[in-house]
């Protein structure tokens, strides 16, 4: 993931760089001119603004509870495996130590992390990864039955046309080429045992 979320609104910058360069160095002296002339601080602030909205306290509570839950589950299972002593440890001792640390960290996060803004909200945009996930899961389920070619083709079409907003023409052409290329590489060239239909 790019550290800096996405292009700036002025990311037509590619064009402006050529126009400006023809204008010579004069632009350099313009006071507070176009939005292109940002100081590093302003630029950083702008990047910050373009980040997806931060999730609220609920997300922190939720993720902390998941951590605590996993931790407690692991503590219970570790104790069931037997702890032993430091000199003669049973299999459960090491997982027990880690899961205790995890529970403590989870509790800490639950209380201290209330005001953190590092989690992202799920927005309408999050439908895209969900769709992506469904297609990936479907592909995993279908591959052993139907081979990889058709599921891969469908996945490509969905990702390019609906998630990526490509035109139908480029979607269909590129998808077909991609699947054919994968067939060539994985089946014909490398001779792997990937389930394939043809």
């Amino acid at each position: 993931m790019s550290p800096v979320q996405a292009a700036s609104p002025v990311s037509g910058g590619g064009n402006s760089s050529s126009t400006v360069s023809s204008a010579g160095n004069g632009t350099n002296d313009l006071p507070l001119a176009e939005p292109d002339d940002l100081t590093p601080e302003q630029l950083a602030a702008q990047w910050e603004e373009e980040k997806p909205p931060a999730a609220g306290a609920l997300a922190n509570v939720g993720s902390s509870l998941v951590v605590i839950g996993v931790g407690i589950g692991a503590v219970v299972l570790s104790i069931a495996m037997g702890l032993g002593t430091p000199a003669a440890p049973q299999p459960g001792l090491w997982p027990f130590l880690i899961s205790c640390v995890m529970v403590v960290l989870g509790l800490f996060q639950l209380i201290i992390g209330r005001h953190n803004r590092d989690a992202e909200k799920f927005t309408r945009m999050s439908v895209a990864p969900l769709t992506g996930l469904v297609t990936l899961a479907a592909m995993v389920a279908l591959m052993p039955v139907a081979g990889f070619e058709l599921p891969a083709l469908v996945l490509c079409i969905i990702w390019m046309r609906f998630l990526g907003g490509e035109t139908w023409r480029s979607t269909l052409v590129v998808s077909a080429v991609v699947v054919a290329a994968f067939y060539g590489i994985f089946v014909m060239a490398l001779n792997t045992s990937i389930p394939h239909l043809f």
Partner: protein
């Protein structure tokens, strides 16, 4: 001249056609993913791990290393031309690089960056050549106690230095350690956390975890429309910087090399921090700091040099101590383990061909990259036209099909998808995936060292403090762990905390 013999033999290894070819493939891929915003080097390396199964260990690592340092070169291009950092380590290059491009000096900025990268990289390889054997010989006496302390400190440093919430990074690390315990206990042979599954009895493989969390997780995260299509600029002219430009930047390049080299060695350090530190240092040292942000050549040359030097020197802890200093190095560690090579102090002695082959391949790689980023830069600028919408399904398919080829099993593919979901959710909720993968890789080493050390000490945990090196490392560990608490306590006492300036928050791109 005994010392130099294995070094020279290493060149023979590099010059084998197969290794040269993989070096070329690695740096080209690195350059490409550096140019394309989206996937970072760690994600790419994770996705391509299955490629390394059928080649020699040295060939595999040469290619993966090429991807890593190649990305440092490529990331500059988009920073300068489009104000879009291709890599986290090129973020600060945006500030002056883009201004230089606006003034019609894009070529100069790119040229300075590649020359700086080349010098920084080469200086770091030379440093690596001399420092690594010394560190390795020092570490030969390390016993389980020292390894326990070292692994603990390494995980802690990586977690605390990462941006974002430190607690969350530590939680990720704890989860990684926990995942590493799945499967048969090495000491007693008892099954742990397998829930009766036969497939889990052998433990979870490193590759599906890395491919899922770094690769698929990042692909899904990127699907949320984070990159608007960037228009490729038409052409870049005159990439050869003038003599006066070079003169102006030479100090920055020299300082960047040294700074980057040392920051790269530190656990948790690495290219991103090195580039930021170098920018800050150049700005502080400059006679007219107000030039920075308005197209100062030093502001491009310094950070770009430093990030390459750091990328190279971060191989030192991996190859000499067997402790990866950052997430990408954790992937290299995993790749070596798959090949049956355990990185550690014995590596220089026992497998000099591998050690010096990898180190020396970086000379070749840097020369190749210099060629690609000076005369051939136009080709890579054109690649910016490839749209993310087309790349995403291709990378996703490579990940799935690649995962299948590891063991020819659908179970691995399913694991990749499951860990892809975990990786996506972690990123969404602000947990860094890097510490998880790093801790997972070090997990079994840490557990077995701890248990062996405790056997030696007769079960007394205080025994760790009876050995000087492990005691020192553990004291540092405690200090690092307690530092944030002490700092916030001090900050609370001083009620007049100056308002924090808009800090550049730069996430370590994994």
């Amino acid at each position: 001249m005994d010392f130099l013999n294995p070094v020279i033999n290493g060149f023979a290894v590099v010059l084998e056609p197969m290794n040269l070819l993989y070096c070329l493939i690695g740096v080209v891929i690195g350059m490409l993913i550096g140019v394309l915003p989206g996937l970072g080097p760690a994600a790419t390396i994770a996705i391509l791990l299955p490629l390394t199964y059928n080649v020699e260990p040295v060939t595999a690592i040469i290619m993966l290393a090429g991807i890593f340092y190649g990305a440092q070169y490529g990331g500059t291009i988009t920073s300068v031309l489009l104000r879009l950092p291709g890599e986290a380590s090129s973020v600060v290059t945006v500030f002056d690089g883009y201004q230089m491009a606006k003034q019609g000096r894009a070529g100069t900025a790119l040229g300075l960056a590649s020359i700086g990268s080349f010098i920084g990289g080469t200086a770091a390889i030379i440093g690596l050549t001399f420092l690594a054997p010394i560190v390795a010989s020092f570490a030969l006496d390390f016993g389980p106690a020292e390894y326990t302390a070292l692994a603990l400190l390494g995980i802690l440093l990586v977690a605390t230095i990462s941006s974002g919430s430190k607690t969350k990074a530590l939680i990720a690390a704890a989860l990684g350690l926990l995942l590493a315990t799945v499967g048969r206990d090495i000491f007693t042979g008892e099954n742990r956390f397998t829930f009766g599954s036969l497939e889990l009895a052998d433990g979870i493989d490193f590759v599906p975890i890395a491919m899922g969390i770094f690769g698929l997780g990042e692909i899904m995260y990127n699907l949320e429309e984070r990159h608007r299509a960037a228009k490729a600029p038409s052409a870049v002219a005159n990439v050869w910087p003038s003599r006066s430009d070079l003169k102006q930047a030479s100090g920055a390049i020299g300082r960047g090399s040294v700074l980057g080299f040392f920051l790269g060695i530190l656990p948790g350090g690495g290219a991103t921090i090195a580039s930021m530190a170098s920018y800050a240092m150049e700005k502080k040292r400059a006679k007219q700091p107000e030039r920075f942000g308005k197209g100062a050549p030093e502001g491009v040359a310094g950070p770009e040099t430093a990030n390459n030097a750091a990328a190279t020197s971060s191989f030192i802890p991996l190859l000499t101590l067997g402790i990866p200093a950052n997430a990408t190095m954790a992937l290299m560690f995993g790749a070596l383990l798959i090949q049956g090579v355990t990185p550690g102090p014995q590596l220089v002695e026992q497998d000099p061909g591998l050690f010096w082959g990898v180190v020396n391949s970086m000379y070749i790689g840097n020369i190749l990259l210099l060629i690609m980023s000076l005369p051939l830069v136009g080709i890579f600028v054109k690649i910016l036209r490839v749209r993310a919408a087309i790349l995403a399904p291709i990378t996703a398919l490579i990940t799935l099909l690649g995962a299948y080829t590891i063991n020819n099993s659908m179970f691995d593919v399913t694991l990749v998808v499951v860990f892809g979901i975990v990786g996506y959710l972690m990123k969404k909720f602000g947990f860094e995936p890097g510490p998880l993968v790093l801790a997972f890789v070090l997990g079994s080493l840490l557990e077995s060292s701890l248990r062996r050390a405790l056997l030696v000490f007769g079960g007394d945990p205080l025994g760790f403090f009876s050995r000087p090196i492990s005691a020192t490392l553990l004291i540092v560990f405690v200090l690092v762990a307690a530092l944030p608490g002490i700092r916030s306590a001090l900050a609370k006492r001083k009620t007049t905390v100056p308002a924090q300036t808009a800090a550049t928050e730069i996430k370590e791109k994994v």
